[in-house]
Structure formats: structure tokens, C-alpha cells
């Protein structure tokens, strides 16, 4: 049996109590939601918290609240399988619901939460392995015991890959997240939650709880998500394109956000592709031209499934597909 390390388990009844417990134990404690990322990581000894704080009893995190204007506040503890069939999300936030449905498997989506998905650990072929496997290569920088990066041995940083399916699309849609810490509640753009580093991939303070995801009201925008992976189930994205395009009444693009997931340690903006679109209509030629500009920002490294050069080469195709779905 591949067993969990031992730990003390808490199920606090309020968000404040959860934050207090985390502060009391500092680095020795971790939050858990569905556990589908944390428990496999603990079994492989990536993380060995002495205290695990489950958020399942914290009230109010399990609902999708539809506001008057059609915007939604999604509780962090909502199960992915509940979100993928939610009528309001399917109707108004189809790209988000689609990205949720692309995650892992139906069994894992019955357990995994949206909060856990937004905070998913970064991944790497040299890291997501058993303890023995990693020991045999003397670990790497992302483990406490290692110091080198096996993907880029000269590199001072870790290039582990952003692997959540929802992150590229919520960042493109300019969604916001609500964080609760000891000093109260704050709301920030989802894209500000992430940083370009495989180890310190989040900007939030460790004790801050993610409580809600806010998706802005339906308006003159359209979003999409397109995922590349080997199998149509189980597999993490090795490229995941989230796009959101705003148009005026003539169909001319007024703003565009394109985010490349699975291509770096955060969902990388394809800025040059976005520039091609603004002021244009989404014709096939414009879409193809915007796609071409996505090759450069796709900083794929040889640390996921599928060939590294090919993954870069198809970035334009996947960006074009995502844009065509925004027409």
C-alpha cells in the first residue's frame, strides 16, 4: 500500500477557525479540500504536513450564487461535477463549464473542488514521481532535499508547469477570487493570484483561504477553452488555451485575452496574439495571424507528456481553435 504519512486532522467549523489553526501551525499545516491533489502528493512525500485542515465543514463555500446581473459567486468547495452541469454556468459561462468537464475523470470530479483546482500544484516529469524515483536522481529544486533543476540544469529557478484546466480560462475572463485571511477579506483579479515560478506559484499568503470565484456578468464577450492531452480522460493539460474576446456591435474586437496553460509555470498571456485581434473582425485570416504569434510565448520545456517541440509548434493551432470558438 502507498500510504499517507501520519498527520493530525482538523475539521474547523468556520473560516476564521481554519485560518487560526493554519497560523498556529505555520508550515507544518496544510488545507485540504477534495484532497485529489494533496493526498497523492502526500503519498509521494512531496508534502508531509503534520496537520491537515479540512475545509469541508466551513459553511457557505458550497453554493453557486447567481447575482441579479447574471454574474456568479462560486463557493470554493463546490465539487467540479456539480459545476459542470450547473444550468446557469452551462448557459452563460459555457467555456468555464467546459474547462471543468475536461478535468481528470468523473470520479475525481466527484471529489475535487474548484478552489483546489485554482490552487493546484505545478507539475513536472521529474517531480511527479514516487519518493524512491526522485531519490534515485537526488531530487530536484522543488523538493526540500534537492538543489538542481533537471529540466534546465543551469537554471536558478524551477519550471514546473501550471496544470489546472480552469486557470487559463478564468484568467482570460478576468474573473476574481475572494481570499480570507487573519486581517479580513480581499478580492483580487484571478490572474494576480499566480506568479511565474514553479515552486512559489501563488501570490497569496499561505494562511489565506480561497473562498469564492467570481465570474463577471455576461456581456459583449465570448470565451473558450481548448485542451491538448494524450488521452481524452485522466490526463492533465500539456497545453490549455483560454481565450476571451470582447466585440462591439459591428463584431470588431475591442479587447482580447489569451492565456496559455500547460506552457509555463503560470497561464502565460499571448500578448502579441491579442494585439493582432484588437480593431479587427474575427475572420479566418485574422485568427490564423493571431495564432502564429502564440508560438513565441509558449515556453514549453521537456517536463510534461508529449514532445516539447511539437507542443510549441501546435500552440498556434490551438490558439486559432480557441479564437474560432469565440466567434
Amino acid at each position: 500500500m502507498l500510504r499517507l504519512p501520519t498527520f493530525t486532522y482538523y475539521r474547523p467549523k468556520t473560516a476564521a477557525e481554519a485560518v487560526r489553526q493554519k497560523l498556529a501551525h505555520g508550515k507544518d499545516a496544510m488545507y485540504v479540500a477534495g484532497g485529489t491533489d494533496l493526498y497523492p502528493n502526500m503519498k509521494r512525500r512531496h508534502q508531509t504536513p503534520l496537520h491537515v485542515i479540512s475545509l469541508q465543514d466551513v459553511p457557505g463555500l458550497n453554493t453557486v450564487e447567481v447575482q441579479q446581473d447574471g454574474s456568479v459567486a462560486i463557493g470554493a468547495m463546490c465539487r467540479l461535477s456539480a459545476l459542470e452541469v450547473h444550468p446557469h454556468l452551462l448557459l452563460n459561462f459555457g467555456a468555464f463549464a467546459h474547462a471543468v468537464k475536461e478535468i481528470s475523470t468523473p470520479l475525481l470530479r466527484n471529489m475535487g473542488t474548484i478552489g483546489g483546482n485554482l490552487l493546484l500544484d505545478t507539475r513536472c516529469t521529474y517531480y511527479d514521481q514516487s519518493h524512491e524515483w526522485r531519490e534515485s536522481i537526488d531530487f530536484c529544486m522543488k523538493s526540500k532535499a534537492g538543489s538542481i533543476c533537471w529540466v534546465a540544469p543551469g537554471s536558478p529557478r524551477c519550471w514546473a508547469v501550471q496544470s489546472s484546466d480552469t486557470v487559463p480560462v478564468v484568467c482570460a475572463m478576468e474573473a476574481q477570487v475572494e481570499l480570507v485571511g487573519p486581517d479580513g477579506t480581499r478580492r483580487i483579479p484571478a490572474s494576480e493570484l499566480y506568479r511565474d515560478d514553479g515552486i512559489q506559484y501563488l501570490t497569496k499568503r499561505p494562511e489565506e483561504l480561497l473562498t469564492r470565484l467570481w465570474l463577471g456578468a455576461p456581456s459583449n464577450w465570448k470565451a473558450s477553452y481548448v485542451k491538448l492531452r494524450r488521452r481524452d480522460t485522466f490526463d492533465f493539460p500539456v497545453l490549455g488555451v483560454g481565450a476571451c474576446v470582447w466585440t462591439d456591435s459591428y463584431g470588431v474586437v475591442t479587447k482580447a485575452n489569451i492565456r496559455l496553460g500547460g506552457a509555463g509555470s503560470y497561464a502565460i498571456p499571448a500578448t502579441e496574439s491579442e494585439k493582432v485581434l484588437v480593431g479587427q473582425q474575427l475572420t479566418d485570416a485574422v485568427i490564423a495571424a493571431a495564432g502564429e504569434k502564440a508560438m513565441k510565448p509558449a515556453r514549453t520545456m521537456d517536463n510534461t507528456d508529449l514532445d516539447v517541440y511539437w507542443r510549441r509548434k501546435v500552440a498556434p493551432v490551438f490558439v486559432a481553435r480557441a479564437l474560432a470558438a469565440c466567434k
Partner: protein, 173 residues
């Protein structure tokens, strides 16, 4: 590090209470197999990557290898041991046997539990819906086709239709 003290709790498995003492960091899979001697639920990858350990909790299929035993206390747990009604097999079990949908059989308990949940929610699933419903369960033997056919056959029988497997399914064409 020393082993933590065991905790005492009552699990509701297949509509029966089972009291047991278990280490609090154990997964439900470990509690079922090691503390309750219910070895029908299989352990494969133990990392969420195969579905062999699928059980139902309050009717929903989940992976017992990533579910804490502690979190299952107070919930209704259903395992493959609870599918048959006394000596009468569940229609899914019958259909799997009739069509050879189990070869080595290692994936079968998990697939049966996922398929049973699917048929509870959707008595007439299309082939595509069956594929979606079983997309978290790997089988290294059958190539899946016989599994899909067996779920279809069981679904038809559970709807009260007088369904028999096609000769091609049993003898090949």
C-alpha cells in the same frame, strides 16, 4: 514518528454498521480492506489514476484511495460486496459474467460501482454516456467493448426488457 492512536468509529457499509478501531490517517480503501476485511474493493495505483478502488458514498462514486476513512464515518458506503441481493447477483454482475466483461477481474469491482451509479442516474444511457461514466476506470484486459456491451445489456434488463446478449457478443462473428 510513532504511530498515532487508533480511533473507534462505526462505518455504515452496505447498510450494515461495522464498528472498528483504525489509524486516523488511513484512507477508506485501507480501512475497508485491512480493518473491515472487505477486500472486494481493489487497490491499484492508489493515486487516483485507475479507478480500481471506486466505491459509492451516499450514492456518489468516489475513489476510496483518496478518501479519508474519518470522512466516511456517518455516511452510507456501498462496495461491490453490497451489489448482490443475497444469492442473487445484481443485473450488472450477471451481464458482466454473461459477456465476459471481466477477464482478470481486477478493474471489475470499481467498474461495477461506477456503472451502478450511472444506471441509477440514467437508466437508458447511450454508448457515449457509458463511456463518459466509466472514463475514470481503466481496464487493461477487455479493451472496454465487452464492458460497454455488458452495461447496455444490464440496463436493458433493469428496464424490464427481455434482453439477451447477441450471439456475436458471446461467440464472436
Amino acid at each position: 514518528m510513532s504511530e498515532p492512536n487508533k480511533v473507534l468509529a462505526t462505518f455504515h457499509v452496505n447498510s450494515e454498521p461495522h464498528e472498528c478501531a483504525f489509524a486516523p490517517h488511513k484512507t477508506l480503501l485501507e480501512v475497508l480492506r485491512e480493518d473491515l476485511d472487505l477486500c472486494g474493493t481493489k487497490h491499484g495505483c492508489e493515486l487516483g489514476e485507475c479507478g480500481a478502488c471506486t466505491v459509492q458514498i451516499d450514492g456518489t462514486p468516489v475513489l476510496s484511495c483518496l478518501y479519508l476513512g474519518l470522512d466516511a464515518v456517518g455516511k452510507q458506503i456501498r462496495t461491490v460486496e453490497g451489489l448482490a441481493n443475497g444469492p442473487t447477483l445484481h443485473p450488472l454482475q450477471d451481464a458482466f459474467a454473461d459477456l465476459g466483461a471481466a477477464q482478470c477481474g481486477y478493474c471489475t469491482p470499481g467498474i461495477l460501482m461506477a456503472a451502478e451509479s450511472l444506471l441509477q442516474a440514467n437508466p437508458s444511457p447511450s454508448r457515449d454516456e457509458i463511456k463518459q461514466g466509466l472514463a475514470g476506470n481503466l481496464c487493461r484486459c477487455t479493451g472496454y467493448l465487452k464492458i460497454f456491451e455488458a452495461v447496455e445489456l444490464a440496463a436493458a434488463r433493469m428496464r424490464g426488457e427481455d434482453a439477451e446478449p447477441s450471439k456475436e457478443s458471446i461467440y464472436g462473428s
